[in-house]
């Protein structure tokens, strides 16, 4: 089933004194259930706005967005949609509501009026999923960024969404924390069939997705499998985006006269190609 469908979506906001500022300029996009999509783009490309449109924190100025066939401009469907689209934000500190881990995770289902036994079951399940069961009675204050962000993910999971949007959720974390969050996202996608939309500006993270959507100036610039997207490395660099390190190394070797195949994504492939040359 189609999870997310955007039809010529435009979004603008007015800035006092300087008129309307168009952030999204005619986006057409379709994401199927169970996909793992990475949304990349440099600052101001409109990727975070797009994320906020998905769970009705914002509504489009023009065009139509539907989540599992539900129109986001329908006021009666707001909570129905928010239940289906879970969203994890950038700063883990600013999305914690309670001072105790399990209370924070329970917040979503409590808001939905889920019966008590079911809340407990969901909290257990969500904390287990992110590997934080041991910490359920601790306070998040002294935890690492990666742990906090995993708790934030558990808080969203307890709502039992079908789509998980990670809005730059790894941007403030150290490499260890990024790996933790990313592996949780991958696990949810592979084991539970959850649709994951990962918004990031780290190309090495985007690589983990099945599909990469590159945004630039409020439009979709490139959309395809990682390999296809990174073939257009010159275009990516023009937009101020990088390519994965292995790819970059291969390209530089090629430029310096080494007859290496540059159509690679990760380190293993790079090692393979280099070995072939020997």
């Amino acid at each position: 089933m189609t999870a997310v469908k955007l039809d010529n979506v435009k979004f603008e906001y007015s800035v006092y004194g300087s008129g309307a500022n168009r952030v999204l300029d005619g986006i057409d996009l379709q994401i199927e259930e169970g996909e793992f999509v990475a949304l990349v783009g440099h600052n101001g490309s409109g990727k975070s706005t797009l994320a906020k449109l998905l769970n009705v924190l914002l509504t489009p100025t023009e065009g139509k967005i539907s989540i599992f066939g539900m129109d986001t401009s329908d006021d009666d469907l707001i909570f129905e949609i928010r239940k289906r689209v879970g969203m994890v934000f950038q700063n883990p500190d600013n999305q914690m509501i309670a001072s105790i881990v399990e209370d924070d995770v329970a917040f979503g289902p409590e808001n939905l009026g889920v019966p008590r036994d079911e809340i407990i079951r969901r909290v257990d399940w969500a904390l287990e999923k992110v590997g934080m069961s041991d910490m359920r009675r601790s306070t998040p204050f002294k935890m690492s960024g990666g742990q906090k962000q995993r708790i934030a993910i558990a808080g969203v999971l307890a709502i039992r969404p079908d789509i998980m949007v990670l809005d730059e959720s790894t941007a403030m974390l150290d490499p260890q924390g990024r790996r933790e969050v990313l592996s949780v996202a991958k696990k949810l996608n592979k084991e539970d069939g959850m649709t994951v939309i990962l918004i990031t500006h780290f190309m090495d993270e985007a690589l983990e997705a099945d599909r990469i959507i590159v945004m630039d100036g409020g439009k979709i610039a490139i959309d395809g499998a990682p390999r296809e997207v990174f073939r257009e490395s010159s275009k990516l660099k023009e937009m101020g985006l990088g390519v994965p390190i292995a790819k970059d190394v291969a390209e530089r070797l090629f430029e310096n006269g080494l007859p290496i195949d540059t159509d690679i994504l990760n380190e293993e492939e790079l090692i393979d190609r280099l070995c072939q040359l020997l």
């Binding site: 239940k83 209370d103 979503g108 019966p115 808080g155």
Partner: protein, 281 residues
């Protein structure tokens, strides 16, 4: 840095800690009200025994108890001094210039000071043995009848617990800003008091900006987690009074009965005690 979100909470496992927060709040209110009815020194002595017992059962160390008293020491002395100096009735002991010290004045001042002292000690039992989260939940639960007249009790309670939750975050932020401003050459510990206050402005402004930004992000996070999705919100943690709460209630009831007897039946046990001692001699 200490985790400030716990306030003065002293985390340990004791029968007092395990009491239902609502029961503790109600009993504290009762205690505070009835402390004002204690008429005699005998009564205050019993109160001292009572509150010491509560501290001991609550496994609260002397240090924590003294700390709660230290905060009001100045107020206590100040009030006692005023009472001693300006109480007009009773037998005059010292009469000099505008100062007139009477026996009743001294008596009144001591009783007032004891009252305030025991009041603060009693109130601090509540905050020392109840975590802020439990306290908020308890207050919400106690105020829930107000929902009938459309007062958004839950929103208030949430605002309260979010405030507590953000204290450590904002402290951390303050430390960061102070360090950032120090790195740019601002100094916080030189100059007179006015210069010191002025030096805080470059800390306060970024702190406010960041607090507002955080509040916007938090509002989005609340919305994203379906806040206000239904009026019939459920709760994971349900507070249920147990046999402990019943016992606590009866202990408090016994204490209150003693105070009432002291005041209205014996009209102050001091006189009786004095008579008793005299009869022995």
């Amino acid at each position: 840095m200490r985790d400030m979100s716990f306030g003065q909470y002293y985390p340990t496992a004791s029968p007092i800690h395990k009491l239902d927060a609502r029961v503790k709040i109600l009993l504290s209110v009762l205690y505070i009200v009835f402390i004002f009815f204690v008429p005699s020194y005998v009564g205050y002595f019993v109160t001292l025994l009572f509150i010491t017992a509560v501290f001991m059962i609550g496994k609260i160390p002397m240090r924590a108890m003294l700390k709660s008293v230290k905060g009001i020491l100045f107020l206590l002395i100040f009030m006692a001094a005023l009472n001693v100096l300006f109480y007009k009735e009773g037998k005059v002991l010292v009469d000099w210039w505008i100062i007139r010290i009477t026996d009743k004045g001294i008596d009144f001042a001591i009783k007032m000071a004891l009252r305030l002292l025991f009041l603060v000690m009693g109130a601090s039992v509540l905050t020392l043995t109840t975590s802020p989260m439990e306290l908020t939940d308890g207050i919400e639960s106690l105020l829930s009848p107000l929902k009938l007249i459309k007062i958004p009790v839950h929103d208030f309670a949430l605002a309260m617990s979010i405030t507590l939750r953000f204290i450590p975050t904002l402290m951390e932020e303050t430390d960061k800003i102070i360090m950032a401003q120090k790195a740019r050459g601002s100094s916080f510990d030189t100059g007179g008091p006015i210069a010191k206050i002025k030096a805080l402005i470059p800390v306060l402004i970024p702190l406010f900006t960041s607090a507002f930004r955080k509040s916007y992000e938090l509002a989005d996070a609340l919305d994203a987690r379906c806040y206000n999705a239904t009026k019939n919100r459920t709760r994971m943690k349900v507070m249920k009074p147990t046999w402990r709460d019943v016992i606590a209630f009866f202990v408090m009831a016994a204490f209150i009965t003693f105070i009432c007897l002291d005041k209205w039946y014996f009209h102050g046990l001091d006189a009786l005690l004095v008579e008793f001692v005299r009869s022995i001699i």
